[in-house]
Amino acid sequence: VKPDAPSIRRFADIAAKVRAGSPLDLDDGVFLYRYPDLLAVGHLANEVREAKHGDHTYFNINFHINPTNVCVADCKFCSFARLEEGMPAAYTMSLDDVRQKLLDREGQPVTEIHIVSGLHGDLPFAYYLDTLRVLKEVRPDIHLKAYTAVEIQYFADKFELSYEQVLQQLKDAGLDSMPGGGAEIFAPRVRQKICRDKATADQWLDIHRTAHRLGLRTNCTMLFGTVETLEERVDHMLRLRDLQDETGGFQTFIPLAFHPEGNTLAKLPAPTGVDSLRTYAVARLMLNNIEHIKAYWIMIGLDTAQIAQNFGVDDLDGTVQEEKIYHMAGAETPQAMTRPQLIRLIREAGRVAVERDTLYNVRWIDDGEPLPGIRVDASVPYSSHAGRVSLSVTQ
């Protein structure tokens, strides 16, 4: 269980590389995954995180729209999709439904809508363009982060357009940036097993390359905890790092822990705290050219998300409302958090909450004021090196 002397030396070498700003290689990444002293790896990732972002932990105020869950792909890890209209729990929103989702939030300080759908067999391309247009009509200043590379690939195939044509038309209709979903694990062995209908690794990367060239910023993800090896995880990170070296268009890397309920991979064990924390830490150390590492609290839970802020994570996603994809896979987290709840979570971990927009422009920095609706809160300013142990009372 304890690291032996050669391992400790190897770890020190890696730490020296990290501190010198040199990129780590595949072996380094796998070594960090296997290194017994979890806290040492976390500590090193925290150094990088604090060097980049200090005590700031970013969040934004967003909500999700999943316009349809009808999907021709048959991904083994998915509990959300239904193959055809008319199947139990299958749904497709009309454009009026989509518009209403935003109208329902009139007056709320939402800055971003995250839109991800199934690969619907019958909807015309206009539906996807109009989805963006109706939302922009209601609120022209809202940021639309929409359609994963898998959807872009599907549109290109189905409507016989190039990636560039698809992305340019969506951009003209209001697309502001792309989420990072659908990457799963790039290794063909894994894709063949868990998502063989989906865009290949090369297609996924090419679509993001194209988006970056068109001036769209994007995120990137990794689905971990299915059947992949540690080598395949690190390889995945390295392929993202290579594209980032080329384009610089990725903003944030988001590791996604696999949830095993309601899908055909339900035999696999549920995500674990240590694996999640280690993945964040290794990602922070491997992806030296990607600015942000995000913990998607919807998926790993609030508790692990809080601790993750010391294992390389500097972003906790948004307040998120009406998340469906993970909840249909058994995630037991609340479907939404209020802004004060999210700020409290960040404060308790000794960090300073920063509200951002999608492109990481700072909108607000926590001033330590008492939080409405939270009777007692961590309103005392403190650094990450201090453990706050007593709290003031706000009536």
Partner: protein
């Protein structure tokens, strides 16, 4: 009512202005108080008053401290109450009597003679329980006995009641009646003070005066009798008065008296009150705190302290507080991990298969943080039957379980015989199940209920089949916090004493902490320090002594409880606290993670913050789940999480020995 808020300026050097009744039963509390002319220490100036005037004078600022009837406290929750002193009884009190010519059920009117609100409320609630609802009318003091005619009865309290017992055909002693209805003592009066007036020195002086007064029962009885003769009043024998002081009245309030107190306050207060009854007891400073505060003024080096603690060196109180407040999370975690590795070098994380059984939900303590209990008058109360217990135990064995964690409320209907029968039955029917049962709070309750010593209760239950004691009911072992959240439950000293006694007779026990009650670092470290001292004592016992096997800490689960405070109960704080506990509790072998409250993912991480045990599969857990924790795991999942953290999982027994795989 300007004095109501306690803001009347007061010269801190002036004597404390005290109001106390002149009844004989108050003499032991007042006779030996240092007077206004005392040369050293606190000084008191005692003014005699009727019970109701004691409360009124305290409320309107004429007095600083008064011996008040407990019901007066309902209107003055800002008063501070002196701990461990009162006027109480357990059974007949002799001087709070309902006298009548006709049976109680036939009484139509009650004349109240000098009666305090407490005694009237007590009478009303006792009669209501018997379905009797007479009219109450006030009578001038001393005239009550003369008004007892036909269906008119009288409530007589104080010295006027002496001797009446033999003069009327029907006499209801309210102390005896309360005991028979509730099984609990009755507290009539306690010392209450305006906020901020009393210091620890005053509390110590009041307690010392009480101790002296209790020693001098005969002297006080003789003086009282002589005064009555001089005033031309009829008297009883001197021994009657002395017995009254020595045997009838209880002046030293313990946990059982506090149970009686809260039962009374809960029954007589208005029905629309939202919060549970509360009494604001003052608390004493813990040993070593003054020194620790002084030490904290000098600089300390966290790195040096952590290195020392990781190597097994001892941290003192000041150092513990310093680390809790300032140490870096990773540094604390790594030191705790190193210490854990030194104590448990095999890389094994143990867990147990057991079942948490809550045998009754009836509880007199009414802790504000508890969602589980039902008061003795509650509708949803239960005591598990043998059949229900047998089913749970059999299921536990079928799942490979080796232990029952049995805990319940403080149920005044369950006597020691019930527990003895239960343990004997359990051992006979389920000889392979270890009985990890009854927290100190329950042991104290049983001791009081039976009038037995803690030691005798433990010896008898152990003989019947009790194997080890769980560390429940500790919450925060600091009376300042306990007085805030569970003023009627056992004190820190009482809790620790049970563990001390258990260890002395060779029993193993565990110890716990619940955080998130707005305690400070000092409160937290005092808790750890007191556990460490008790463990030092245990380890110094001759062979065959018991000890704490493990420490478990978890965050307070506030959902739906009536405790209004909210504090940081985050996993972040939990990990810090657990790591610090691993370092500070250098004499306790095992630290158990508490995944039921935080989830198995944090449980895994906690194994890297000092813990070496994954607790239990938790087949059933009522108390915490009613306040918002809902994690359930089977053995396979536990082993998965343990492996994820890099350890080999092994099943263990109650004494932490490993079971061969």
């Amino acid at each position: 009512m300007t004095g109501e808020t306690g803001e009347t300026p007061r010269d801190p050097n002036a004597p404390i202005r005290v109001a106390a009744v002149s009844f004989l039963n108050a003499h032991p509390l007042t006779a030996y108080l240092p007077g206004p002319d005392a040369a050293l220490g606190p000084r008191f100036e005692v003014h005699p008053a009727l019970p109701s005037d004691c409360a009124q004078g305290l409320a309107d600022g004429r007095y600083d401290l008064a011996l008040v009837p407990v019901a007066a406290y309902l209107d003055h929750p800002q008063w501070q109450v002196v701990p461990e002193i009162g006027i109480a009884c357990r059974g007949p009190v002799d001087t709070v009597l309902l006298i009548s010519q006709v049976p109680v059920d036939d009484i139509e009117r009650v004349h109240l003679d000098a009666a305090s609100r407490t005694s009237v409320l007590l009478l009303r609630t006792l009669l209501a329980a018997r379905g009797v609802h007479p009219e109450f009318v006030t009578a001038p003091h001393g005239t009550g006995r003369d008004r007892v005619t036909a269906r008119d009865a009288a409530l007589v309290i104080g010295d006027a009641a002496f001797g009446l017992r033999d003069e009327f055909p029907v006499v209801l002693d309210l102390g005896a009646e309360w005991l028979s209805q509730t099984g609990l003592p009755m507290v009539f009066a306690f010392w209450a003070a305006r906020p901020g007036v009393l210091t620890e020195a005053h509390i110590a002086a009041l307690q010392a005066a009480r101790d002296r007064g209790m020693d001098k029962s005969e002297v006080l009885a003789r003086a009282y009798r002589e005064q009555r003769i001089a005033d031309g009043h009829p008297v009883l024998a001197e021994s009657d008065y002395a017995n009254y002081l020595r045997q009838r009245i209880r002046y030293r309030l313990d946990g059982f008296d506090r149970e009686g107190l809260v039962e009374f306050l809960s029954r007589v207060r208005p029905d629309d009150a939202d919060d549970p009854a509360h009494v604001n007891f003052l608390s004493r400073e813990h040993e070593g705190v003054a020194h620790a505060r002084h030490r904290r003024t000098q600089p300390m080096d966290a790195t040096e302290l952590l290195a020392r603690a990781a190597a097994g060196g001892r941290l003192d109180l000041a150092e513990g507080i310093f680390l809790y407040e300032t140490a870096d999370m990773f540094a604390l975690g790594q030191a705790a991990d190193a210490r854990r590795a030194a104590l448990h070098p095999e890389g094994v994380v143990s867990y147990i298969i057991d079942r948490n059984v809550n045998y009754t939900n009836v509880c007199t303590a009414r802790c504000k943080f508890c969602n589980f209990y039902t008061p003795p008058t509650g509708r949803n109360k239960y005591v598990l039957s043998r059949e229900q217990l047998a089913e749970k135990f059999a299921e536990t064995e079928a799942l490979g379980g080796v232990q029952i964690l049995l805990q319940g409320g403080l149920n005044p209907e369950l006597h020691i015989g019930w527990y003895e029968d239960f343990f004997r039955w359990a051992k006979r029917e389920f000889p392979r199940l270890q009985m990890h049962a009854l927290s100190p709070t329950e042991i104290i309750h049983i001791a009081h209920l039976e009038g037995l010593s803690i030691r005798d209760v433990l010896v008898r239950l152990r003989a019947a089949g009790l194997d080890s004691l769980p560390g429940g009911g500790a919450e925060m072992l600091h009376d300042e916090i306990r007085n805030r959240i569970s003023p009627f439950k056992n004190t820190t000293d009482e809790w620790l004493e049970v563990m001390r006694q258990a260890h002395q007779i060779g029993m193993l026990s565990t110890c716990t902490m619940v955080f998130g009650f707005q305690e400070t670092a000092e409160h937290t470290l005092v808790h750890l320090d007191r556990l460490r001292r008790v463990q030092d004592e245990a380890l110094a016992l001759p062979d065959g002594g018991g000890k704490f096997t493990a420490f478990i800490v978890w965050p307070f689960q506030a959902d739906g409880t009536r405790l209004k405070l909210r504090d940081d109960t985050s996993p972040w704080r939990y990990l810090r606290l657990q790591a610090l506990a691993r370092l500070y509790l250098d004499n306790i072998d095992n630290i158990q993670v508490s995944w039921p409250t935080l989830g198995p993912e944090i449980g895994e991480v906690a194994l890297r913050f000092g813990a070496n045990d994954f607790g239990s599969v938790m087949i059933e857990e009522n108390v915490v789940s009613q306040a918002g924790a809902h994690f359930m795991l089977d053995a396979e999942r536990i082993e998965h999480h343990v492996r994820q953290a890099g350890f080999a999982p092994r099943r263990r027994r109650q004494d932490y020995t490993l079971i061969a795989p």
